[in-house]
Symmetry: C2
Subunit: 333 residues, 2 copies
Amino acid sequence: MKSNKAPTIKDVAKKSHTGIATVSRVINNSGKVSENTKNRILKAIDELGYTPNLHARSLSSKKGNSISLVIPDMGEFYGILYKYIEKNLAQMGYRVIVFPLVDEISLAKIKNKADLIYQTDAVFISSLSVRKIFKDKIPQKKLILVDSKDDRFDSIYIDNYDIGVKAAEYLLSKSKTTEKYLLISFKELENDFTSHVFKYRDEGFLDTMKKHKKRVKKIDADLYWDGGYEAMKKYSSKNSINKSKVNVFATCDMLGFGVRNFFNEKNLLPNKNYNLIGVDDIPISKVIGLTTIHQPLELMADNAVGIFKKFLENKEKKITHKKIESKLIVRET
Amino acid sequence: MKSNKAPTIKDVAKKSHTGIATVSRVINNSGKVSENTKNRILKAIDELGYTPNLHARSLSSKKGNSISLVIPDMGEFYGILYKYIEKNLAQMGYRVIVFPLVDEISLAKIKNKADLIYQTDAVFISSLSVRKIFKDKIPQKKLILVDSKDDRFDSIYIDNYDIGVKAAEYLLSKSKTTEKYLLISFKELENDFTSHVFKYRDEGFLDTMKKHKKRVKKIDADLYWDGGYEAMKKYSSKNSINKSKVNVFATCDMLGFGVRNFFNEKNLLPNKNYNLIGVDDIPISKVIGLTTIHQPLELMADNAVGIFKKFLENKEKKITHKKIESKLIVRET
DNA sequence: CTGAAAGCGCTTACAG
DNA sequence: CTGAAAGCGCTTACAG
């Protein structure tokens, strides 16, 4: 009867009548090993059902072969980002470990210095503020920001102020003088999760509208699928929505979704009764014909991985800041 | 000038004039340590910015303090499941590492015996077939199936055949003799990702309809936000949709979403012109008023973690099969 | 091409 | 309450 414990490299060595160093070589495909011994070892590995212990490997090699990806929530948007990053890194033999900051518990875990996140070779942080998350105890790791910016760290980012400007210009191009302008946005709470992306989008939009002497009514909405709907409902209860065209900037597609729903329900038509633009270009936006501002996730992922690669190669200390252009996608609304 | 390397337990011991065993004790809060030495050690840890090496810890303690969660994709649905599992496990000091099988690459990684997944203390598999994923090389780990069933492993599952039955009964209760019945479903490819959930839902629905002598038109759809829409468009190009009421079972809410969109666009009304039921009860379903069959994710997560807890306690070998009841949620459609 | 040995940074009896 | 020492399963010079 076999022992219950998982077989180790020692067991493999014994069974194949070699030393552990040689076994290690064939496992890692490093160094020269004769065909004959190699086959003996492979056979033993197979028969034993041997699996290398990653902890031992990492401990002795000083490499984790993994990176962390910190994201604000686990939804479709970040799923896409994950996919692009994973695709790149998998080829390099790296694992990407996801850390969704879904609640206070997961935030607390990350702040604990004994957490897994501190064992990975680099930390990719998406859409979140390093300062807020880690406070003063920033991990002594390679940090790469994706979709946000911090002077102290490598950053791949999009100019959110510019997004607001683009949204304003789109709506202005579609409208005449006497129309109404609405800004439906999420009012971020000042806590550890705050990213300020909404704030910047708001500002870009508001500033541009002011420049064109347009008055804008701002409405706070919940960051949820019906957030935009409820905001519009509230607005329409005090303002007429049929008299003149309404132009709406929803600062993310999730909010845009709700707004679109609202207009549909009232049988109001895009271009005629309203215009609407969102941000993100999540998959569902295409389906509902929502005009939006696209965030090039693939490009961001590629750039982030590129920085990581360079880091691995020559440990260069220079910090890279790469700005990615967002793109207007005109659809029905 | 300080050394570049990360401080180890040895450095802490030296700085606090103790042994590494004692340092280990205060880090892990185990055993008795006098207040005085404890404070000295804590101070040293803080000054050094010491972080325990998890690989070393796992290697010597034989515990990973983590579990794997394998999911078919990274979207809102599994995000919710993750959240519930994580909430439970975090309190126990465990990390949950997500393995989204988004493409062939990620599948290949999992099959590699050297993968991270084999280092965790247990593997939770959601909505996927163990047989298909791991083939004959099933990991010698505690496997817990969430939302699927396998006689060989602990399973928390929902009866998908029964879901089909429930959907049929709902539509029958809303309809009269002469009406039309549509089944809009995803035709699973026979590959490693196949879970057969759709197949069982189809069967439960079809069998029940047959029992009631109703003819059903089945339409294959893409598993995407506009899958249901396209399916309906195809159907309506050859069949009238206005004459008599149409009753549709979309085998998941994502498909139901598209169907609902289609009817909206045609200005057709629920209960009057059509009835529609989906499955899953994803957040967006509530917003669009989609009648659906709810999957109790929280309950499933709790049960799965419960099994894991028992496993940790007494290493019991008995396999648990727990069936969870799905629940009809009636909304507008 | 191959193997014995040191060492990675911890935990855990063990002895005091 | 405390510390020296063995051991976890690997990788990597080093010597052959």
